[in-house]
Symmetry: C2
Subunit: 465 residues, 2 copies
């Protein structure tokens, strides 16, 4: 017999499961359908396990390369990657079980299976246990996510893999070519380098992490070269040949070609929408020209009562953006006060060492937008806490509009910078000025003092530089 819900959510990633909780908090009767990954790619095979691997890598690098700086002498050092892998699975398992707990706590009905629309107000779930359920809904939220984009003509094989195979692998190859120098490429590159893998990164754009401010990208590239990672930026992958011994990756730059040999290849060039097999055509939901689901600022699709959030909309493929889209969708559905998202101002983090964190416009983008740009940069070299940590690479840069003092963006590279953004994004969101940040007393000695110094710099009055 069909079941009736105020809202049915397709996909239990960080968009879907958060939307479900918010909808339940607002008094709706909620169902959520998920075939495989409660908590999505993020909790199962993405952000969470990868951050456990990155912590292992950070410590592995210290014990193998920096022990002397700290006065540690080890008779021998053995790094067992299988333990790193197990630790990453434990972190993931703990959180994915947490999602189950949260669904029960919020009285959300869960369906393990695949949902396909039968019309704009109903769908059938092919349950993993072989059964079928029919769900009728007043509202629906599409939170179906995205899947890895591959190079044209390239398939996943024994030697050509994606993030997914590596995050689930308990051992690493001896050498690797990583195609794509975005966040996933540089994060896996960092982990593998720390565990002794010979790593080459090939990036089509002129720098690795090409969406970041140019100075940040260049600083990270410099640090990766110091680690022994080979960087091929501004370089195209022409073809990948595979044989029993390994892979040969043909690359070209400025008309010159070169062949990189390695044991394996990681393809990390981006994402494509996951919209097939859900019977979307039965609903009339429109996709945009690039195949993502088109939504307005309320997260509504063109079909009344059907919303979409997260990666499947193609709007910044980041877990925390998906979660907030989920909250906004649920609040709009419930006619509860809500906000809108300024995608440009969303925080963006890359968790290699040094870490990279940013939001807003890069200097170049801001100038192109016509802003009269002010920029202030404070180096970790001049920060007491960074000196104490022994991590003084990088800087904090904040940019503002010279006319009105509006914060336009911030670009950070260095120790723990992924934890330093919230003060700046809070200020940006609620229209506080650099002067108001400068007046916020920051504890000494902390890394966060660098934000205060940069904010003072925008007012023309940096103290410690």
């Amino acid at each position: 017999m069909a079941k009736d819900y105020d809202v049915v959510i397709l996909g239990a990633g960080p968009g879907g499961y958060v939307a479900a909780i918010r909808a339940a908090q607002l008094g709706m009767k909620v169902a959520i359908v998920e075939k495989q990954y409660w908590g999505g790619i993020c909790l199962n095979v993405g952000c969470i396990p990868s951050k456990a691997l990155l912590r292992n890598a950070e410590l592995a690098h210290i014990v193998t390369h920096r022990a002397k700086d700290f006065g540690f002498t080890f008779g021998t050092v053995e790094l067992d990657y299988t333990v790193a892998f197990k630790r990453s699975r434990q972190a993931s398992d703990r959180l994915t079980k947490g999602v189950g707990f949260l669904m029960r706590k919020n009285k959300i009905d869960t369906y393990d299976g695949w949902g396909s629309f039968t019309g704009p107000k109903s769908l059938d779930v092919a349950l993993n246990n072989g059964g079928t359920e029919t769900l009728n809904f007043k509202n629906c939220i599409l939170a179906t996510g995205a899947k890895t984009r591959m190079l044209p003509g390239v398939q996943v094989t024994k030697r050509i893999k994606t993030y997914l195979e590596y995050v689930m692998a308990d051992k690493l190859p001896k050498s690797i070519v990583i195609v794509g120098g975005g966040a996933i490429g540089v994060e896996f590159g960092y982990v593998m380098n720390a565990y002794g893998v010979d790593v080459s990164i090939v990036e089509f754009m002129p720098t690795i992490i090409p969406l970041e401010d140019e100075e940040v990208s260049k600083e990270l590239e410099k640090q990766y070269v110091k680690l022994g990672v080979k960087i091929h930026a501004g370089t195209k992958v022409e073809k990948i040949d595979e044989n029993d011994a390994g892979v040969k990756v043909s690359i070209s730059k400025d008309g010159k070609t070169q062949v990189l040999e390695a044991e394996e290849v990681l393809v990390a060039i981006g994402w494509q929408p996951r919209t097939e097999g859900y019977g979307l055509e039965k609903t009339g939901v429109k996709l945009n020209e690039r195949g993502w689901i088109a939504v307005n600022e309320k997260m509504e699709t063109n079909v009344p009562g059907i919303y979409a959030i997260g990666d499947c909309t193609g709007n910044l493929l980041l877990a925390h953006v998906a979660s907030h889209m989920g909250i906004i969708a649920a609040e709009n559905m419930a006619k509860h006060p809500t906000v809108t998202i300024n995608y440009k101002m969303m925080p963006r983090c890359t968790y290699c060492q040094p870490q990279v964190a940013s939001f807003g416009y890069t200097e170049k983008e801001a100038r192109e937008k016509g802003y009269e740009v002010k920029s202030a940069k404070f180096p970790w070299q001049a920060n007491g806490k960074a000196l104490g940590l022994g991590d003084t690479v990088g800087f904090v840069k904040i940019i503002s509009d010279a006319k009105h003092g509006e914060i336009l963006g911030a670009h950070l590279i260095g120790p723990e910078v992924t934890e330093l953004l919230p003060e700046l994004t809070l200020a940006q969101m609620w229209e506080l000025t650099p002067e108001e940040i400068a007046r916020n007393v920051h504890a000494h000695p902390t890394l966060s003092e660098a934000l205060m110094e940069a904010a003072e710099g925008l007012e023309g009055e940096m103290i410690n530089l």
Copy 2:
């Protein structure tokens, strides 16, 4: 011949040197007088070198006690404390040299020597090189700091020491009794424990870090006991006997006495004003009943043109508070727009592991003040980044006033919490509400998400708990 200045500053700690820079930025002719420590206790023998030692200790603890969790096997592990010490001196030297650079850059005249007032508008400097200088001033800032308070009848000896002797020591005793469980006591306790010293901490108040929220103090005590540190809280030191073999510390609790034996004692029970020998009596500057220099919210003493800032005023003895008092003093002197300090809302950090960070009222204080208190707590156990790091001890607690939603304080214990306060203090300072913090999109996965969750909790709508 006497030299004339707009402002002469006595003492080049984080209060004095920052005041000098701000005064110079505002166009004043500035002199600063310092006998020994450019950068003060903080940069020379306090915050900065101790944070370098704490980083060493954090890593030492990981390699000796947690290597297995990360899959690291070491044939042998040797920890050379002399290297930790040298690293701490390098961090200190680098920053103290930086102070010299900043003075030159800002065209501030520096005098290496001891200043004594000859009247309310002049002082003589007995230079370290044997000479004398007479300085006339329109304004003066007293930034003379504080000195260690000792137990009644106890002197520094070969075996009874203060933070100063330990921060400058390149080796550690085998066992120690630390008298005083405040920030200095628990920080040195952490460093020494990590380097294998048998540590006992005796605290007169009912818990260690007694000024913190009770739940935080109890959590830290629990973690210290796990580390093997012996905690004697609610305990009085009756006497300390010293002989060639070591010390015997007689302690009493609830009428029962006990004798702790150890190689040495660290006394860390607090501070007293450093106001003697400056000829203050020639100026007419008044001290308060506890001997600190009394100031108003402009940092003015009772004598026109004479200001005081930092530890010598007894207002929260913290480096960052001193710096901001310095900025405020300089700005008032220059009749430049400025702010006032709400001492209750200043951030406070303790850099052991787990770290402790707080500002504002504890729950108990807020209730005693008559607030209708709301409190929301998010544990690191439920935070993905903390799980990835493998550091899940502790929590974030934010308290607010139920009537108006005003943020009253926050109490954090756990990984990197010293870096998480600025978002909350910014919100408190500029009167943003918990809801406005909850609407700030926090990158996933970060520790900072716990702040957002706690803020959502204050609104009754936590997502991930």
